[in-house]
Amino acid sequence: MSTLNRDLLLSLSAAGHNEKLSKMSETIEEKIKSYRTAPFDARFPNTNQTRNCFQNYLDYHRCNKALSATDQDVAPCDWYQRVYKSLCPMSWVSKWDEAIESGSFPGKI
């Protein structure tokens, strides 16, 4: 009985980090499920939202690269994808996607 408790405690503490990450992706999941449109971003308060679009595109790819490099679940990165799909013209997104595939994308990812 006591060894069972000890193993349970050990597994819980090891899973504590994973639990926190999964909690964060749970709240992100909730936010993605209830997503309506891109929220106000204090970094881009003016009418010109070009940089907002580009920054979210970059953040999506950086998030994918960072999370898959440490073998974590890339689901939270979908938030950035929803935001840039709301903001960016489709022609820009397809142009950048082609540039990424051909290796000529100018942004730092």
Binding site: A42, R43, A66, C77
Partner: protein, 85 residues
């Protein structure tokens, strides 16, 4: 320079009605220079140091206000809502 200032001061003493002219033109020039300075130094779109601070707008807090005058925008209620990575 001081001789020009002395000349202007002498002319002002004989035509004191010109003083408000200097005040307003000087104030206007100061205000425009100050706004340009604020734009150059405080605007998060401006990056002076591309190596060490390449994206200065990312250093802003989620409830930090840059605009001088915001209508219908309550900055105190904003929180960070982007996932970390």
């Amino acid at each position: 320079m001081s001789s020009i200032l002395g000349l202007v001061a002498k002319q002002l003493k004989s035509h004191p009605a010109l003083i408000p002219l200097f005040v307003f033109i000087g104030g206007g020039a100061t205000m425009s220079m100050m706004y340009l300075g604020r734009l150059a130094l405080k605007n998060p779109d401006v990056s002076w140091d591309r190596k060490n601070n390449p994206e200065p707008w990312n250093n802003m807090q989620p409830d930090q206000q840059y605009k001088l005058f915001t209508v219908n925008m309550d900055y105190s209620k904003l929180k960070k809502d982007r996932p970390d990575y």
